[in-house]
């Protein structure tokens, strides 16, 4: 019978193991742009060096039907080995790293920035008398919160890696 279509949006963290070959990233990105899917974050790097494989982590959002489409479309690409929807499969860890530059010359702003960095477990990886660069790893939300806190203290530049993700426990992709 006419199944009511679920129109609510959900976020999905999808990991894809691909053959490490030229053009594979363009293929994945082209799939998303060509079919009008969202990309909130996308990371890619070689893993399993000896077997020429890379892992792509994509954070996307859409209705349940669209997310199922995204997975099916990824899965039919010739160089794709495996597709896993970490959000759907259960508890998982999603982390990204950010470098955050703060330009602060006054003592109170400098000490407040350092205090907050300490509270967020961000490391100072570069410092001058006018600036800091903090390195911080954590969930996207935690990084967002830290960046917002730095804004009034002289936030000058942010560089983020995008999300790397993995299932908790013994389950592997």
């Amino acid at each position: 019978m006419a199944t009511p279509v679920d129109t609510s949006l959900r976020s999905a963290t999808i990991s894809v193991v691909v053959e490490n070959e030229p053009g594979i990233l363009a293929r994945v990105v082209g799939l998303f742009s060509g079919r009008g899917y969202n990309i909130e974050s996308l990371t890619v790097a070689p893993v399993e060096d000896g077997r020429h494989r890379s892992r792509i982590n994509i954070v996307t959002s859409g209705t349940e039907m669209v997310i199922e489409q995204i997975k099916a479309q990824l899965d039919r690409l010739v160089p794709v080995h495996r597709v896993a929807d970490l959000t759907q499969q259960g508890p998982h860890i999603a982390r990204e790293m950010a470098l955050v530059k703060v330009i602060a010359t006054t003592g109170d702003k400098r000490s407040e920035a350092l205090r907050l960095a300490d509270a967020f477990r961000a490391r100072v990886v570069d410092a001058t008398i006018e600036s800091f660069v903090f390195e911080m790893t954590g969930s996207t939300e935690k990084l967002d919160a830290f960046v917002e806190l730095m804004r009034p203290l002289g936030l000058a530049e942010v560089s983020r890696t995008g999300v790397a993700a993995m299932a908790r426990g013994t389950r592997v992709i």
Partner: protein, 601 residues
């Protein structure tokens, strides 16, 4: 350069990349290549010159090479092969590649490329072919090392024909073609990542059969996937439809998988489908889709598509399932394998279908059929203008009477829909049309490819006078290879489908849809060493059709048809199946078509 992996005793110690390429093609069973030479592929043409195993058909435009390969592939079930040069050769092929992608046709397209050291330098006739064709192909390759060449060719054929078939491009830099390369035979082990599922899940088959056995108003809706699954799949479909006693309809792409003359066939469904097919889809309680993809030309308005049915969807491509229409029972499998499994499960289940309900459903369908939604009126008085439907009906009847093996290709537009409605196909692989992409100019080169594969068959391109001009240069190829293709033009001097939409949707403002200064098609045929015929009135029609078929060579038959004729029935864009517009023949009895439905037009 590494030494060959295989010490093939009788082979010369080193072969060039071009020679290795041809050897790999030969090992893949390739007999014919459709191509056009140019600077970057000269080494391949030199190798072709020095062998006899593979025949080359010289087209007049690269787009036509791909359509010809599509026609070859669709009429034989084999992979079609194209060879074009770099830059403009490759870009000209793109329309054909997208056409093959949309219609799931297995094609391998070899493109030349500038030498590897010049890639990225904006060299003469350089284009980023893999970049351009990435969304136009199922997969593509750039061969940058001679050692990869043979392996990539074998893999390309595997990818093109496996799972949901499609076009694959291999971009070949000139230095790879010239330099020595090792040969590797086709692999025996499975592909490392691409292994499409073909066997259906037994639990899903059981759920499907349970739904089908309980159906009171079932319909079987089939598509091009059945054709692509091979002749055995069409045969399994026939057995399944007869075993169940269910009505069967088909998409444009699926015509011929089930015989059009069979009483259980409802005709084509969709935008220009029959009244009975569309109303059966709308009113059914269980729908079995085999190898079709719920295309917008089939579903119409999605929210109102078959609102009361349990849906079962068999598709080899899991991304086609739940893409447009949510289904209850997805079955990812080869259409033929799934039909065999359905038959076995149907027979194993002791319960019978609800025969009383089925009989009542057929009575309903027969009432819809009685409407005769394809009806038109042809005046038989001498000098009467020819109705396009009548021209195709007579073409069909005369070919059937002559009992020649007949293949039909079409261009795109009204003539295409009339051909689908009035030419009845009894077997698969006899009907080639551009369904998904809707490429005007497809039919003539596709007919060329079909005729190359079936030299003794009757191959007819049912065309419109606008579409035919898009690849008319291929008349020259037909002449060169003496391919006796018959071009049957329904000439209404308009881009008929554009004119029809302008009449129905744009207040009759016929903006740029009339072609002034059309060529004299008889003289055009003659200038290409072919025979030109024309029919102006209904009394001339049969004679022209018979003369066209009897002529030993290529023929263009220019049939002047009623300019004002529209293609009905029609489900306007964005309307539901039960908001179908019937033709003027039915004006007085347009029950079921509400004012609201007419406003939607």
């Amino acid at each position: 350069m590494s030494t060959p992996h295989h010490p093939a005793a009788a082979e010369p110690a080193t072969q060039s990349g071009a020679e290795i390429l041809l050897r790999a093609l030969k090992d893949q069973g390739v007999e014919v290549v459709f191509g056009y030479p140019g600077g970057a592929v000269l080494p391949i043409y030199d190798a072709i010159f020095q062998q006899n195993a593979i025949r080359h058909i010289l087209v007049r435009h690269e787009q036509a090479a791909v359509h010809a390969a599509e026609g070859y592939a669709r009429s034989t079930g084999r992979v079609g092969v194209v060879l074009v040069t770099s830059g403009p050769g490759a870009t000209n092929a793109v329309t054909g590649l997208v056409d093959a992608l949309m219609d799931s046709i297995p094609v391998v397209c070899l493109t030349g490329q500038v030498p590897t050291h010049l890639i990225g330098n904006d060299a003469f006739q350089e284009a980023d072919t893999t970049g351009i064709t990435r969304p136009a192909t199922k997969h593509n390759y750039l061969v940058k090392r001679s050692a990869d060449l043979a392996r990539v060719v074998h893999e390309a054929f595997y990818v093109a024909r496996s799972g949901r078939p499609g076009p694959v491009v291999i971009d070949l830099p000139k230095d790879i073609l010239i330099g020595p390369a090792p040969y590797t035979p086709p692999p025996t082990e499975a592909h490392r990542s691409y292994r499409p599922r073909t066997e259906p899940d037994a639990a899903a088959i059981a759920r499907a059969v349970a739904l089908l056995k309980g159906a009171k108003r079932p319909v079987i809706y089939t598509g091009g996937g059945v054709i692509n699954a091979g002749a055995t799949a069409s045969e399994a479909l026939r057995r399944f439809v007869h075993r169940t006693g269910f009505p069967c309809t088909s998409t444009l792409m699926g015509l011929g998988a089930f015989p059009a003359s069979d009483p259980q066939f409802l005709g084509m469904l969709g935008m220009h489908g029959t009244y009975e097919a569309n109303l059966a889809m709308h009113g059914c309680d269980v729908m079995l889709n085999v190898g079709a993809r719920f295309d917008d030309r089939v579903t119409g308005k999605l929210a109102a598509f078959s609102p009361h049915s349990h849906k079962i969807h068999v598709d080899i491509d899991s991304s086609s399932i739940n893409k447009n229409v949510p289904v209850e029972v997805p079955i990812v499998a080869d259409a033929g394998r799934a039909l065999e499994a359905l038959l076995a499960a149907w027979d194993a289940d002791p319960s019978g279908p609800d025969r009383a309900a089925l009989a009542a459903w057929w009575r309903h369908i027969d009432q819809w059929r009685a409407k005769d939604s394809l009806r038109y009126t042809q005046s038989q008085s001498p000098g009467a203008i020819i109705k396009p439907q009548y021209a195709i009906q007579r073409l069909y009847e005369i070919t059937r009477e002559l009992q020649r093996e007949t293949f039909i290709t079409t261009e795109v537009g009204q003539h295409q829909m009339w051909a689908a409605q009035f030419f009845k196909f009894e077997q698969p692989n006899r009907w080639m049309t551009s369904g998904g992409l809707g490429t005007m100019g497809y039919g003539l080169p596709a007919a060329m490819g079909v005729q190359v594969a079936h030299p003794d068959a009757l191959v007819i391109d049912i065309a419109g006078e606008a579409s035919i001009l898009m690849n008319i240069q291929e008349m020259s190829t037909l002449a060169q290879y003496r391919l006796p293709v018959k071009v049957f033009i329904l000439n209404n001097q308009y881009m008929g489908m554009v004119r029809q939409w302008q009449e129905l949707l744009h207040g009759g403002r016929y903006s740029e849809s009339y072609t002034a200064a059309l060529p004299d098609f008889v003289k055009l045929a003659e200038s290409f060493h072919a025979t030109g015929l024309h029919a102006r009135t209904v009394d001339e029609l049969d004679g022209v059709i018979r003369a066209m078929i009897a002529a030993p060579g290529t023929v263009i038959a220019d049939i002047a048809v009623d300019q004002k004729e529209n293609c009905f029935p029609m489900i306007p864009s964005g309307a539901a199946h039960n908001e179908m517009i019937l033709g003027p023949e039915h004006e007085s009895e347009a029950a079921g078509i509400t004012d609201e439905g007419l406003v939607l037009v």
